[in-house]
Amino acid sequence: MSTLLEVSGVSVTFDGFRAINNLSIAIGEPELRAVIGPNGAGKTTFMDIVTGKTKPDEGRVIWGERSVNLLKYSESQIAKMGIGRKFQKPTVFEDQSVRDNLAMALANKRGPFSVLVWRATDRDRARIEELAEEVGLSDRLDDSAGILSHGQKQWLEIGMLLAQDPRLLLVDEPAAGMTPAEREHTTDLLKRAARTRAVMVIEHDMEFIRRLECRVTVLHEGAVLAEGSLDHVTKNQQVIDVYLGR
């Protein structure tokens, strides 16, 4: 397992509020990692920084074998390098079919001119079927994404993430609003994805994280409070004080 993403000494301030405070965190490939922390701990801001949406005041974000400085790149360039992101609220394109949503995410050329003349090859079609199978939406391919259930939208979004074929998946609260059965399916999906890539899951739900059976990072006030196995961090007195014991 080699280090894929390394965030070191990153700080960001919004109107005087320090959302991220000298945060350092690294993830290898392949690895499954859960990030927990109370509201306002900086979990989402951390993802914004990695994906290029927010530029930090200081610190470094280094990516891949060639140690690329991600801070110099735009959202779309970072996405093309292999970082996929799933938002907290499922954001799929509701007035388009599941198939088209997946087709857009497929790892093909992204320029306007190549997209203009793009027509699905048999390989693309097969890949779309395969992804739909993987996330359990095979029989919904020609339905509009807008009529899917909440859980199905979450899966479609995970399917779109996988379609991008990223090396790192950042997944923000995938289990929010899901039924227990749906949660189980989602856990399986993430664990499978993490066999070949780095997957970082932000989640509140302890039961969900327990099922992921992975290393856990606890954030608090924009910095890492503890890191290790779930049992290890839940025994940490500081963690109990700020998060679990509330």
Partner: protein, 399 residues
């Protein structure tokens, strides 16, 4: 909430026309309409449609063309541009310069040629300048008229001027991530600035006089208007057909998918790895070019162009047509533009009888704008899919 699922996507394996039956329907109807008008025209047929009406219908086709361009940029890509009529006007000015220059040159050569000594090129060019610019108190040919005598050059300008303006303006605006209502205001400011600039006499485009006599085509000065009007009608019908095919193709595939996704959630599209700004710039520029071409066909039929045509209100009307016709479907834009603009010329042109209520007399020229405003509000509130949405009731979607 019902969702409109296009069955015609690049990810499914079907040919373009089979999966887009509305394109075939549109082409068929446009063809029939063109044949019908030709058969009934004064120039080539029974003479049941006056030349003036042929011109109005031809101009309407040009308005339909800019309306589908507006639909692509607004209805599909979500950019509410309030500046596309500026591109339309620039196209008109570009072709108008040639029409006016070449026609004046022919007239000057004729009158100077009657003398015993043939005129020199300098004399001709000075006389042309004096003739065209006498109205703004100048006799110098402005720099931008240097190649006005060349049809190929001015035709290139029809495409290049709107295209480059859109490219530069769009690049600056999209790069700074100006979106939504702020972008609309910015495009409107661009339109207003351009219109005010053209109003000045020293801009070199005859200030508020504009360019006139554009219905006279150099090289065909002795051809009756009844015939010329049909030439332009055919050209407009052809341009509308070609534009419809082009845009239907552009929005049918994955490109259409991406721009609709940009309309619905551009941040998400960025995280999919698409360069949103590049797509917006592409759409903004190509629709500006099509608008310029539509303008170049419109103004020779109108006969005159002046800076008032470019005023922001024109671009706002354009948005109203598209909203009334139905955003996000090309035939909706055509229906909206044709219906509203024809209704407008009927009501304001004195065609409609005024209604005497006894206590009040409804004069349509005064009440038309009120009617249009109420119609716009009603469509927005009660029929967000516009007139084109009626087709959803007619065509029952198969399960």
């Amino acid at each position: 909430m019902p969702f409109d699922i296009p069955r015609n996507t690049a990810a499914t394996k079907r040919s373009f026309l089979i999966s887009n039956p509305s394109v075939l329907w549109f082409m068929g109807l446009l063809g029939l309409f063109t044949i019908g008008v030709t058969v009934l025209s004064e120039g080539f047929g029974l003479g049941l449609i006056s030349t003036n009406l042929v011109k109005i219908l031809g101009m309407t086709l040009c308005l339909c063309l800019i309306a589908i361009a507006m639909d692509v940029v607004w209805g599909y890509c979500g950019i509410l541009s309030l500046g596309h009529f500026a591109f339309f006007g620039l196209g008109g000015y570009a072709i108008g310069m040639w029409l006016m220059y070449a026609r004046t040159e022919i007239n000057i050569r004729e009158s100077l040629g009657r003398g015993t000594i043939p005129p020199t090129e300098l004399e001709v060019s000075e006389a042309v300048a004096a003739q065209i610019f006498g109205v703004v108190g100048s006799s110098e040919l402005p720099l931008i008229w240097s190649f006005a005598g060349s049809l190929p050059f001015q035709l290139a300008m029809v495409v290049l001027v709107p295209g480059l303006l859109a490219l530069v303006f769009g690049w600056l605006a999209f790069r700074s991530r100006v979106t939504g209502v702020y972008l609309s205001i910015l495009t409107q400011a661009m339109t207003l600035a351009l219109s005010l600039y053209l109003f000045q006499n020293d801009t070199g485009l005859r200030g508020n006089n504009g360019l006139s006599g554009l219905q006279n085509i150099p090289g065909a000065l002795h051809v009756p208007q009844a015939v010329i009007s049909m030439w332009f009608f055919w050209a407009s019908a052809f341009a509308l057909g070609a534009g419809y095919l082009l845009f239907a193709w552009v929005v049918s595939g994955k490109f259409g998918s991406v721009i609709r996704a940009i309309r619905d959630n551009e941040a998400r599209v960025r995280f999919l790895g698409y360069n949103v700004e590049g797509y917006k710039l592409f759409v903004f520029t190509i629709t500006a070019i099509v608008s310029g071409i539509a303008g170049a066909l419109y103004y020779p039929q109108a006969g005159i162009i002046n800076p008032a045509e470019i005023a922001p209100i024109a671009s706002i009307y354009l948005a109203v047509w598209v909203a009334i016709g139905g955003r996000g479907r090309l035939y909706g834009a055509v229906i909206g533009a044709a219906f509203v603009s024809l209704l407008s010329s009927w009501l304001t042109g004195g065609g409609a009888p005024n209604i005497d209520l006894g206590f009040y007399r409804i004069v349509w020229t005064d009440w038309w704008l009120v009617l249009l405003g109420l119609g716009f509000v009603a469509v927005t509130l009660f029929f967000p899919k516009g007139m084109g949405g009626l087709f959803d009731y007619l065509v029952r979607k198969k399960p």
